[in-house]
């Protein structure tokens, strides 16, 4: 089965974070998705820490300079 890829680069600004959190919330525990972005999504990680602390894994798969990929997993 192929992976869940969410390319947030083509999502307009005010829809970006809601789209990401809704995708995360739809995952089953142990599932993950790869977020693709055109900058380091560090602010998002801080928002995850604040709102879903301890419930997620965050692994950089690619760190720029043009494209960032982060595997975001829902903890079991």
């Amino acid at each position: 089965m192929s992976s869940i890829d969410l390319d947030i680069r083509i999502v307009p600004p005010r829809e970006k974070h809601p789209t990401i959190f809704k995708t995360f919330d739809a995952l089953a525990p142990g599932e993950g998705f790869t977020l693709i972005n055109d900058h380091d999504p560090a602010p998002l990680r801080h928002q995850f820490d604040a709102t879903r602390g301890g419930q997620f894994g965050w692994t950089y798969v690619e760190r720029g300079p043009v494209v960032w990929r982060v595997l975001i997993e829902k903890s079991r």
């Binding site: 192929s2 992976s3 083509i10 999502v11 600004p13 005010r14 995708t23 055109d38 900058h39 380091d40």
Partner: protein, 299 residues
Amino acid sequence: MPLALSSLAAPGLTLAERELACRRRGLDGQELALERGTDLAAVRASGARVLAVRAGALGDPAELAAASARLGAPVSVAADAVAPEALPGLARVFARAGGRLLIGRPTDLAAVAALAGALDALGPAGDAAALGIAWELRPSTERLADAGAVVFAAGPHLGVVRLHGGGPEQRAQDGRGVGAVLRELALARYAGPIVLCPSEPAQLPAWEAWLRAEPRVRCGDRGARRIDLDVRDVEPRDRLDTILGAYRALEPGATLHLTVDHDPVCMAYTLEATEPAGSFEFRTVEDGPEVWRAEVTRR
């Protein structure tokens, strides 16, 4: 889910120039709109990453099937180019050539479901896989409320999503539901390409500027008393550095007045994580739904 730039977005650029623009933008490849006399050997020799092919009309199906096979990418045609009764014959032609034909459909659940049903009816034989659906997604004019159902109805037949917009048109399409479409595609584990193309020819100058734009970071002058910063015109990739640069240029007691087109709560969390505790005060003074304003005072 690779991202591709349609050659229709940059008709003035050569194949090689488009390839360079794609790499600078981090796009994974191109959609090549075939023109009379397109030299397929030259396209292949150029090293350009062709992820999808576009044909204005079906023309000679065998020729189109050969082009698809030669370029190793599916070819899409407009919605009205293919009559339902032609599907079995086209499936044979494309399967024999080793190509794939994707038939356009708008964001219309009934139209997508009907085509998916017709493709299912071709049976499980190998030929059927040579046909599929090209979703022509137009956020500026279509209602996207059915997007999840469209993704489900298209199922494994969905071979390409052609997004009429994105790029420089993204802000104008904010709030139209593109995010929900991407979420549905991701959760359905869609792995095909998404092609960015202009919604209308009048947008071409904006696309050209977007493709040529260099990343930039603006920082405030150090020791500023007040900084007004509207990042709506700053590309997302440059925003964090721009905002942090402006914040760090504030002298103690001064305030950054920030205007953004999304909930700035992520900035508050970022400052909490990166700046010393108690060193700033963050207030949201206008809370959407289209414009948000925040004031950040440095203590």
